[in-house]
Amino acid sequence: MNTRLLPFYATLLICALAYTACVMQFPAMLSTRVAGNLLTDNAFLGIAAVGMTFVILSGGIDLSVGSVIAFTGVLLAVLITKYGVHPLAAFAIALIITTTFGAIMGLIIHYLDVPAFIVTLAGMFLMRGMCFVMTTDSIPINHEFYSMLQGMYYRLPGGGRLTFIGCLMVLVFLIGIVMAHFSKLGSYIYAIGGNRTSAQLMGIPVARTTITIYALSGFLSGLAGIVFSLYTSAGYSLAAVGVELDTIAAVVIGGTLLTGGVGYVAGTFVGVIIQGIIQTYIVFDGTLSSWWTKIVVGALLFAFIALQRTLVFLSTRKAMVNATA
């Protein structure tokens, strides 16, 4: 069996076990209502995590995600509420800005050869700062188009709601999976994450790919911002602080190697759902502090990193034995 898939199976197993354990304690959690809410509540996190998966697969990191989400939310609120711009036009403007922003970060990372960590850290502060430049208040959005999108859902048997944003997240994940394994861009991303010098010597357009990766992450963060704005009906400068870390956690729990080159988009989906399940459990329990989510996620991260190191160690040792046998 391919050892590479092991972390993914492990994640899947943990997800199933966690859900089963929750259902045993709270049978009410076994309902389409909970399932629907899992998708809706984590839609923005999931969409941003798809972008983060590609970034990490390429061996990089994007710390600007949370700030970009907040920026998008504030921008939409200002455009729609203050200036009366139609939401669709506002969406387009936001996506253009965030995509360009991502592309510029990619440009700097590639051409100036600055570590992605530093560039996106600067991007994080810049975007958060831009939020405060626009407004320091929480601006509500009351627009019929918003109400229309929020009211769009498919009623599942059992009363669960498959909302527009929930579906959007699933769609983004599906596109992400196809892109990762069946597009040239996907293969380039894995190649760069595997070994950048080799990729370059093999004639892979490293510059274009790097820029595309960060532009894509910017676009998906913008989309996550739109979803977040639909979810909260407001724009607030201090929203989504630290979401980038939640997405990184989801990606790593999903079995993607932080050093790049190895991982699956589908794993990230499971990673997001695990975080959602923990949150739901805490809500059901009612007495636990919401910080327990962070604690459990932290423990899981440790467990997964240890698992990955062990697998890498075992597979290199196996390769060595093979090579000398």
């Binding site: 391919n2 590479r4 196809v178 394994h181 069946f182 597009s183 040239k184 996907g186 293969s187 380039y188 894995y190 190649a191 994450g193 595997g194 070994n195 010098t197 080799s198 990729a199 370059q200 010597l201 093999m202 004639g203 892979i204 080159g261 190895v262 597979s315 290199t316 196996k318 390769a319 034995v321 093979n322 090579a323 000398t324 046998a325």
Partner: protein, 505 residues
Amino acid sequence: MTDPTVLLAARGICKSFVGFRALDAVDLTIRRGEIHALLGENGAGKSTLIKVLTGVHQPDMGVMELDGQTIQVRDTLQAQHLGIGTVYQEVNLLANMSVADNLFVGRQPMRFGFIDRGRMEKRARELLRQYDLHIDVSSDLSRYSVAVQQLVAIARAVDMSGRILILDEPTASLDRHETEMLFTTLRRLKERGLGIVFITHFLDQVYEICDRVTVLRNGKVAGSELTAQLPKMQLVSLMLGRALAAVTHNVRRDRPEPEMKQFSFKGMGRSRSVAPFDLDIGEGEVIGMAGLLGSGRTETARLLFGIDSADSGEAAVDGVPVRIRSPQDAVALGFGLCPEDRKTDGIIGDLSVRENIVLALQAQRGWFKRMSRRQQVALADKFVKALDIRTTDIEKPIKFLSGGNQQKVILARWLATNPRFLILDEPTRGIDVGAHAEIIALINQLCDDGMALLVISSEIEEIVAYSTRVVVLRDRAHRGELAGGDITTTKIMQKIAAEPGEVHG
């Protein structure tokens, strides 16, 4: 060009880097169906020439013609499209992707805008069948040995380019059996009419497989001849451009075997690494360690130096039992080790020559006894002079030095600690003939000065040249020892190949 057999002709290629002329009016002609050796000492301009041919560098002057058409190569991608494919020394493939991915990344067969994996893997299997490689193309490249990876790299390069194949030291990390496998492939490609450029440091291999030799020296062509018409001595003198006295080193000095064995190891071993062995070394003695790649030579060195901990066995220095659990312990006992792969284990590229030399001594003295700048400079100067390290300045980052000089710096680093017992793992790998002779002379001198040395090398003639005793390893175990008059190339080879029918890999 009137000669229709000529595939690629480069004429009058010049290339300068800031104040330094790397290539000076170099001509190179590659014909159809020939294997063309490109030789030269380190820094002679081989890599620069290759980089010009493959579009990594642009020549300042000169013309390149492919099939009689003048070409300009802007980048590697274009070189590949023109038919010039390259396989680099360190296999530059992607270990995290499948074999098929590696063969086709960037040019995957597509269907409806998506990669057609089924067709890609089918084509990969067909492609590798031509090389007698029947492996699972859907599993990761990292699962296969370096030799297989190299063949995959060649398959990719030939399939993409298919006219000129440039191999940059392809045999450096292969053992004999794997090299044979590679040569079979090259002969087959040659029959298909490819022009192959073969860069190597092994002169034997040049005579084994190459039709023609071009020698570069100081950025100029020193000569270009048919291999059959070029005696080995003449080839070496073309490369060195100086008298051969220093290189013919087959005069081994007969040292009396020392009475006292200051360093003795009994039953040292580690499972999966190397079988338990006994080894006694006295001061003023050079033990040569011969064996194929992967026979346990480096593993032995790692055990002795405490990098890997031994499962069994005991060590004694001056008759007193000691425990070596870490390199620190070993250094404290007066051991030194020059590792095999100087690029990853030895040099620190961005630090200067001086800093690289001082490193081990400073480490031995500890954090708080910093050496003054003046002491450091004095020390570095001393070794630069003593070992004839060629550098313009002791403050020059070591990565700008040639391989042979880097090796000398690492030697200097350990010599500075005044070791009693020095282990050298492949001290002459990847360095040119001239530096080679100097390193060997140095080994002899250190031995005369009363140091105990253990030298691991793949070059048997070299081992014969300096060893007072030779230990032969095979299949992760010490298989025998030769001393005195028994130390000959033939005897060592016989020991290495002792049991018939064994495949080393």
